[in-house]
């Protein structure tokens, strides 16, 4: 039994490197995801992770190098551009905000895919790798990039924690107190873009959305306070990264996909079994209430009357 868990670590450096990369990608994604989730902007993350692809391709076509920091810059710039385009369409163009997200990211993504297939034939950019990640064969550059961006994002979240939480819960109050709301917003967008590019090799463009949305949603079912939510989200991310790596090794399947599946299962468990807000607990509570009302009809009648709900039919 133990061998099953220990053996992958003895197979070579790639297991250590892969797990390190996946963990370094999971933590900043989870942290940023919580703030996006609270602001009901989870699907912006979907857009930004797709949009990182044209950012990388544009940076490559302009500079001619596959230097990771150039790519990071390109992706951050294109990411902020895309989020401005989404807001512009929604505010000035009169497009419904969800449609604006759908239009902008698919258009940007298409440009990226076409530029990749036409213009970048001889470069070391592999379409499949960019889309789905290659965590088991992660390069040194990519690992260094993650090693820099992950602590940087964590540091920034720590530094601007008060602003971020204030803006997430009450934008109006934040603006009144003098918090630069727009700056915080675009800072968050830029951070999401940078994180999704840095995690490209680890989890790929399309699956990065899972590392952003699912931990936050799980944490929100389990916790009531923001600090705990951040901790639980990170724990969810790290746990699904490590367990995902195990499954990838045991079953010899895509590591990024396995991590996402583990994360999804963890979410489902929380959805059903969370101690306070889970479906099972809510169901049990409703049943308990139902049986108690059945025993004392008068009590339930006064209770419903007191709550201002309509009386049961009396005729």
């Amino acid at each position: 039994m133990w061998e099953l868990f220990v053996e992958p670590w003895t197979m070579g450096a790639w297991m250590w490197r892969g797990t390190l990369a996946a963990t370094l990608a999971a933590v900043p994604c989870a942290l940023l995801g919580v703030f996006l989730y609270l602001r009901r902007m989870s699907l912006i993350a979907d857009a930004l992770t797709h949009v990182a692809l044209p950012g990388i391709v544009a940076a490559f076509l302009l500079s001619g190098s596959v230097d990771p920091f150039t790519m990071l810059l390109g992706a951050a710039v294109v990411g902020v551009l895309a989020s401005m385009a989404i807001e512009g369409l929604a505010d000035k163009g009169g497009v419904r905000s969800d449609a604006a997200i759908g239009i902008v990211f698919t258009a940007f993504f298409s440009i990226g895919v076409i530029a990749l297939s036409v213009g970048v034939e001889n470069a070391h950019i592999d379409t499949a790798c960019v889309l789905f990640g290659d965590v088991l064969g992660i390069s040194n550059d990519s690992l260094i990039l993650l090693g820099i961006t992950a602590p940087a994002v964590m540091l920034l979240v720590g530094l601007f924690y008060r602003w971020l939480s204030l803006v997430s819960f009450d934008k109006g109050l934040a603006a009144n107190l003098g918090v630069p709301v727009a700056l915080v917003h675009y800072g968050l967008m830029g951070a999401v873009s940078v994180t999704s590019v840095a995690s490209f090799e680890a989890i790929g463009a399309i699956l990065a959305i899972a590392m952003i949305v699912v931990p936050a949603a799980t944490a929100h079912i389990l916790c009531d306070r923001l600090p705990w939510m951040l901790i639980v989200a990170c724990a969810h991310g790290v746990f699904s990264a490590i367990l995902g790596m195990y499954f990838a090794v045991w079953l010899d399947v895509s590591a990024a996909g396995a991590m996402v599946c583990v994360g999804g299962v963890l979410y489902a468990l929380a959805f059903l079994g969370a101690p306070k807000h889970g479906v099972l607990v809510r169901w049990a509570r409703r049943r308990a209430r139902g049986s108690s009302t059945a025993t004392s009809t008068t009590a339930s009648l006064t209770a419903t009357a007191g709550r201002g709900e309509p009386h049961p039919e009396v005729s």
């Binding site: 989730y37 009901r40 902007m41 989870s42 699907l43 993350a45 979907d46 369409l89 000035k92 163009g93 009169g94 497009v95 419904r96 969800d98 449609a99 997200i101 759908g102 239009i103 698919t106 258009a107 993504f109 298409s110 440009i111 895919v113 076409i114 297939s117 036409v118 034939e121 889309l131 789905f132 399309i206 699956l207 959305i209 899972a210 952003i212 949305v213 699912v214 936050a216 949603a217 929100h220 079912i221 079953l251 010899d252 399947v253 895509s254 990024a256 996909g257 396995a258 991590m259 996402v260 599946c261 994360g263 999804g264 979410y267 959805f271 969370a274 807000h277 889970g278 479906v279 809510r282």
Partner: protein, 324 residues
């Protein structure tokens, strides 16, 4: 005449020759590809218009991504890339995804946007796992499966085209037949319910139609970009017409045209997948609608604002002279 000019002229000659080849229906597979692109564009345009107007745009994205695990499971069960099992698998997983989004949205402390994100990414992740498994163990050819990601309309089989045609006719007929209840429940669900229109049934019917049209479209545009073909035509059409029949017709037209032109572009340039090509053509239509559309387009709004300002200024000066 310089060398560059000659090369240019040669390129133009070659492009026009290839275009002629494409639109002349000389080769069966080209004719199939063109027909399929037009059908897919029109079908997605029609269904997508209702999604956009009901703020369900991103359900299209979820349905598209979530077909992947079903396609893979169907391949594993059937052992080949034959049309009907694959389509059935895709349909089952798209419907499951739609149900999952509904369950999560009504579940504890959840938000509809996050529900779409969770379902989309987890289904797609499962699909990627299965795809990597297939690539390792497959004994028969799985070549058709890769094309499902970004679309390859040239690879469409006669059976696929028949299914696509049947679905298009059925859904098109249903849309025309139920146009009134569909529109009323889209614009004013409360009123629709009060006059006895089954609003919930229409909602689920629409999600079913969405799943069906995504399933028949993925061969042409791919699972990743099918949402664009659903959203963009409808979002463009509202800039041209005010009433529902007009919007719907415009969306179908824009979708079909984007499909045809996109397939043509990807035929001209080797290595360009059909999905992204169609999406870019559709985006061009969207941007021109946004700029020039008479209903809320940016140009007309600016003109109207100028006119109003001028009228106001004229009023002010008239009243000023009156006072003096």
């Amino acid at each position: 005449m310089s060398v560059a000019n000659v090369i240019n002229a040669l390129e133009i000659a070659e492009i026009s020759a290839r275009s002629l080849e494409f639109f002349s229906f000389k080769y069966a597979f080209v004719a199939r590809a063109l027909t399929a692109s037009i059908l897919v564009g029109g079908l997605c345009g029609a269904v997508g218009t209702f999604l956009v107007l009901r703020r369900l745009s991103l359900m299209g994205d979820a349905a598209g991504h979530s077909t992947l695990p079903g396609i893979c499971v169907a391949f594993l069960l059937a052992g080949s890339v034959s049309t009907l099992p694959i389509m059935a698998g895709a349909l089952v997983s798209a419907l499951l995804a739609a149900i999952a989004v509904g369950v999560i949205t009504r579940g504890p402390r959840s938000r509809s946007d996050a529900a779409i994100g969770i379902v989309l990414s987890v289904f797609f992740g499962a699909g990627i796992v299965l795809l990597s498994y297939i690539q390792r163990v497959a004994t028969t050819s799985y070549a058709g499966l890769d094309a499902m990601l970004l679309g390859n309309v040239a690879g469409i089989s006669p059976e696929q085209l028949i299914v696509l045609g049947v679905v298009t006719v059925l859904l098109g007929g249903a849309t025309l037949l139920y146009l009134r209840p569909l529109s009323i429940s889209t614009f004013d669900p409360g009123f629709a319910a009060s006059v006895g229109i089954p609003v919930r049934a229409i909602h689920y019917g629409l999600l079913g139609a969405l799943s069906l049209s995504v399933v028949v479209s993925v061969q042409a545009v791919g699972v990743v970009l099918v949402s664009a073909m659903l959203i963009i035509p409808g979002a463009s059409a509202v800039y041209w017409f005010k009433r529902m029949p007009g919007v719907l017709a415009a969306a179908v037209g824009i979708g079909a045209l984007s499909g045809a032109l996109g397939a043509w572009t990807s035929y001209l340039f080797e290595g360009v997948s059909t999905g992204p090509a169609m999406v870019l053509v559709a985006t061009t239509f969207f941007l021109s609608s946004l700029a020039f559309g008479p209903r809320g387009g940016l140009l007309w709004r600016a003109v109207r604002r100028r006119r109003r300002q001028r009228a106001m200024l004229a009023n002010v000066s008239v009243s000023a002279t009156g006072v003096r």
